[in-house]
Symmetry: C2
Subunit: 376 residues, 2 copies
């Protein structure tokens, strides 16, 4: 990371198993830096739903910490009740948002850990229920912390592999926020920029403001400036002329879910950038960890696309900006077909077409580390 | 126009030569319908600059009324002073905004009228200076009213020619506002929709909100609802997936300046739509009157593109939405190369490629009415 990077973590855990999650409330940025003390899984679900914490890797971590909170806060004192309380909490966390696969990936991993710590046949010993459940929570916390620490390492590796693609003097266009604020580390798309800058390359960024919630304006430009990176903010509609005029040499975006064939769901507006990049011969890269791949689905058409409330568009920034009662269509994501993607920058290197073959090869189970999730 | 259309004129003139211009303050829509009483050319210039009145045809009309105001309010009582006051006023009005050619077209026409009314050699007769200047102002007002009335007729004709392109059941995507609020009549792109609806066709509209100033959210959705047209508002970034998913059968936009070869400047974001439309085999139409053509320039690269203040992007809706001091690039327009345009809907019919030949043929001077402007 650049020396100047002054990072405010998107999420963290304070204390031991009886502690709490600390969530940076990103809805208040850039005006206010406020860290929420999150003490229960419902509060964590709410933080995810209302985008206090957002970004595919970060919401995976948030959900994992949510499982720890559920384990510690439950009043169940029988094994059966504890198991059903945990199943309910996990289902609640999983329903917070549908598109990013990291959420269900992290929850599946926490479920497996729970099963290790508290196998199906086990009962709670009378008189020491609390101590036993505290041990389970401690084990779950260790797993959530591991997910968090691994994500930080994934960001580092993505940054390293991606930085090799950028030449000094290049301007990079990005969309939404795929930075430190979206992950447990330095980001995905922005890790590439940070890492290239740390290598001494002169890299400037054009950031799409990213309507409706302005993650580019509020988050990306904020964290890049803190990281000492030169950033210019543009409206989403200006990206086409910025690309056409030769102002950018490369587009790098994050991802919320990548299918087995490379089709990629990411923030609404990404697909349009991909088409424009190809039209102008500008390379278009997706940066994402293995945890964002969903090898259980064959193509982007199977990715569920979240639709968000009309008021995100019609009532912007606390003010009504469209007539009362106007119909709004507000999908939060779109799918970029793999054929528009120059390469997918992962912790295992840059995956190039043909994607079905090369994604399968990169994430062959057990060969070079943990494999990405398969939906059950 | 549909029976239900309840139109609030973008601009009008109240009274005789001593009257004033009435400008709907579009910056306050949709929250507030306020009509400004504009009594001088500087106030008109300000109304144009701050987009109280906007849209290429409407600012042409506004500038013409501005010339009347200048003639009537000047304190000059010698022919030489009157002429230089008028030249200064026209220059001020012309510098209000650079991209839409209708502004300079209307001013050139008012200059010619002024020369007719008050030829170069003429002096003011001592003792009846005021009466003479009032007569000049009356003549200028008649010309401005003619420009306004002609624009209304151009809108009607554009609507009629464009409506023939739309089939019942189609959804039309549009960008920014090219409606009644942008013209002296029923609009350009939206006239096509109104006219098709008046023919009994079932037409629905997807309206891009059009950042930064949200003309789609604030103006297009407002006037379409008043006109009884079904409209769905989307973020600019969502247009790509709306087009990709087959939700729209046609794109129709307005224009601010069209070069001799058909290259078209229009609101920032238009070019991206054109590329996406072609990628998905969706026809992409530009609707504009002859007054929007600039036959004095060979291609879009010669069109001056206005850059607007950073705060339109960084401080949205009265609230700071990006970090203090962030660099912003805020071009108000982009240029769509002619090769992406399926047809240009004008008052003389739909012009198809090859544009250089067919534009020249459609607007051959004197053949079928007034020819479009040539820059001097």
């Amino acid at each position: 990371l650049p020396r100047k990077l002054d990072r405010v973590p998107a999420i963290g855990w304070v204390g031991g198993p009886d502690g709490h999650a600390a969530v940076l409330d990103q809805t208040l940025l850039p005006g206010k830096v406020k860290v929420l003390r999150v003490t229960g899984h419902e509060a964590m679900r709410d933080a995810i739903r209302r985008l206090a914490v957002r970004g595919a890797p970060a919401i995976g971590i948030a959900a994992a910490y949510g499982v720890v909170l559920a384990a510690r806060r439950t009043r169940a004192r029988s094994a059966a009740r504890f198991r059903s309380a945990m199943a309910r909490a996990i289902a609640r966390l999983e329903s917070a948002r549908p598109t990013a696969v990291n959420l269900s990936w992290a929850l599946r991993r926490m479920e497996r850990k729970l099963e290790d710590l508290f196998p199906g046949a086990r009962e709670l010993e009378a008189g020491r229920e609390d101590a036993a459940l505290r041990e389970v929570a401690a084990g779950l916390l260790a797993e959530a912390r591991a997910i968090h620490a691994e994500d930080e390492a994934l960001c580092e590796a993505i940054g390293r592999h991606g930085a090799a693609l950028l030449r000094s003097g290049w301007n990079v266009l990005t969309h939404c926020n795929a930075g430190a604020l979206a992950t447990g580390g330095s980001g995905t798309a922005l890790a590439v920029v940070y890492s290239a800058a740390a290598d001494g390359k002169d890299i400037k960024v054009f950031a799409d403001e990213t309507r409706p919630l302005l993650q580019g304006a509020r988050l990306t430009s904020w964290e890049l400036r803190r990281g000492g990176i030169d950033v210019t903010l543009i409206c989403d509609g200006a990206a086409a002329s910025v690309i056409a005029s030769g102002k950018v040499q490369c587009v790098v975006v994050g991802a919320d879910r990548i299918a087995r064939n490379g089709d990629t769901a990411n923030k609404i507006g990404t697909y349009g950038l991909a088409v424009l990049a190809r039209e102008h011969g500008v390379p278009f890269y997706v940066a994402a960890p293995g945890t964002t791949f969903d090898l259980g689905i064959g193509s982007g058409s199977e990715i569920p696309i979240e639709e968000r409330p009309a008021d995100e568009v019609a009532r912007s920034f606390g003010k009504r900006t469209a007539p009362e009662g106007v119909a709004v269509y507000n999908p939060a994501f779109d799918v970029t077909p793999a054929r528009y993607i120059t390469g997918i920058i992962t912790e295992r290197g840059v995956i190039r077409p043909p994607y079905t073959k090369n994604i399968a090869r990169a994430f062959r189970p057990g060969v070079r580390g943990r494999s990405p999730p398969r939906r059950t």
